[in-house]
Amino acid sequence: MREAIVTGGGISGLCCAVKLAEAGVRVKLIAPYPSERSQSVMAAGGINGVLSKPEQGDSVNCHIEDTLKGGNYLAGKEAVTGLCQQAEEIIKYLEKIGTVFTVDSEGSLVKRAFGGQSYKRTYFCGASTGKQIVSALVMEVRRFEVKGMIERHFWTFFHSALIRGEKCYGALVYNERTDKVEAIYADFLVMATGGQNSLFGKTTGSALCDGYAAGQLFLQGVELKNLEFIQYHPTTLETCQKRMLISEAVRGEGGRLFYVENGKRIYFMEEIYGPKGNLMTRDVVSREIDKIVKSGKEVFLDISFMGEKEIRHRIPEVSDLCMKYRGIDISRESIPVAPSVHFFMGGLAVHLNHETNIRNLFAVGECASIYHGANRLGGNSLLAAMYSGMVAAKEIESRDFEQETVDFSDTEAKANLGLKKMKDTKSQFPVMYIRDMLADTMGQNLGIVRNEEAMKKGLSDLDYYLSICDRLSFDSSVSMYTNYSLKAILTLAKATLLCALYRNESRGAHFRSDFPDIDDAFAFATIIANDEGQFKIRMDKEHSYEN
């Protein structure tokens, strides 16, 4: 029987595991914590799709066009077409397995407006779309666990892939219970490890998404793509522990952005972009807010006109969050907002079938880069998480069985020795100190508006951290994983800065003050490869991944 490892228990990993098990592939699902802890549960707004009763004028083609346009035509048309065409089936499937979508009195699913879309096509489950989907998928996974087709491994972290001759044979995982690295052999390895939040410290998302896996695979020869495209969510609220997302649903429901000048409210998005200005794509809104914030003014989001009753009914989670963490009553007051890092369009480069440049190594969900181009539309990433999981599973199902065993016991022993040696290291910087410095330098030098000078400063910081990282003292007060993951995370950060420096133009979420215009010479995806320690960047002019 064929076997696959799926690393990551968010929506994409769960979906892929279920579809593989359905197809008779035995799965080991590796993630340190249960799926209830994954970032996927945080998605509140909804999932996009054009279903059988769309808003008048809407069509699947229109969804495709909006997605391509939102991403500044960097994503491949074929990939996006597949994604949007499959949306209806995906939403129906989710409903069938027990996702509790919000329905109207006739029992039909309700849709709402989201940024960058010509029509309302975002379907949702009250205030917790991601959570409801995770709950349903976890039960489906359990169905196959009981049958012995899926085995869940908690307290295990990805360490590295078992690769030889451009082909993958499984993974090394670190088991926190035994404090050891173990080799798990499999015919296929699917990465579903989410975005690279920790490059920026605290983002709107989960602390468990750190980018380690992408950085490590890059070190092992896997190509990365479009790393410079990082989505800032325009509306987040400062709290004592992080910046929290104020859902785009607020603007979807009519919320208006403004600042105050001479005692008067200036609805700047409407002034610049017309009546639909508040719902422009996230990159545009973030940049406009950033400009105002940098000029020393505060920006607010107003939804109070909706009235308490409607607010409780339509966006209760936003009202609860503002009250709980800031004591703000949004039916009376406006919400002070500013942009914050939210989503990564870039990640592991994958082909249409979600395979990377290494045979039998796949990537799905947010850690893979394919559908969102230079900017992602809200509601498209849950769709992509589901779709990519299905595509990878289908591809694996169709593959011929290549019975071939390669022994990696030396690699395993070496990895264990590496960890042991790490414990013996001594120097003045603890790991957490460097992690914090990394977040500072990335936040300062790779923000919403970028320029060469700042990015070069960021690079020199990173080169320094990388130069000392092998000599860092073992920080016994954080986990072994936090210790060993540092180098790959720093490497990913460096690759990201290099890609951003390479793209001498402004497009989508990547805005350069020194190259403020779009330039056709860069109308391609950025690919970065690690050629025995040399970082090599190219524009994917042949569309080798996309089409």
Binding site: R37, I97, V100, G126, S135, A136, E145, C240, Q241
Partner: protein
Amino acid sequence: MKIKILRQTLPNTEPYWEGFDVDVNKDMTIAGVLDHINYNDDIIDDTGKKTSRIRWECSCLQGMCGSCAMVINGIPALACETMIRDLKGKEITIRPLQKFPVIYDLVVDRSIIYENLKKINMFIGEYIPVENKKPKKREKELEHQYEVAKCLKCGLCLEVCPNYVNGNNFFGALFANDCYLVSSRNQSKLTEIIQGYEEHFGKTCSKAFSCMDVCPMHIPTLASMAKMNRYY
């Protein structure tokens, strides 16, 4: 403010209390306090001694994932949702959940929750909902399913429950709620689920309902129980 934390170095070592003097403000959460203590190059306890970072589990930091469940001033709660302004007294005590094995400090192993759900085939499989002709009733049913599916599996309901010991036989409120969710969405599993419900919940629950007081998602477990009892 004085923060006292019950710490433990390894799963098999003895727990010990350690105090910290922390500058807090009323708008901070306990997660914020733990971050504040840890965000230093040197971590110093209240005797001036250098000590190690406090280990605790976190993911979303906003009450949506259940990672940071712990016991704060004697009450099981999520650290990221517990505000200093709502706590009484001059000192705050924090300890790990007691009903699960401690891995280190405030991190516990809650795998048993999943093992138990597996034992009684807790999955929907096929969607065959209990028929409800009246739209109002159907709507109410869906609303309740939505509430129940929000369960974080954080274990707070088990920590506070006088009947839950170690999960060997009594599986607690989160289990009862899932029983409702599965049986309402797939009638054909009713008999099987009711059996499990009775065995691992119904016959032992002494109806203290403290589970509902501590549930971060405010899941109306009582309503799930009433519905399960009606199915009998």
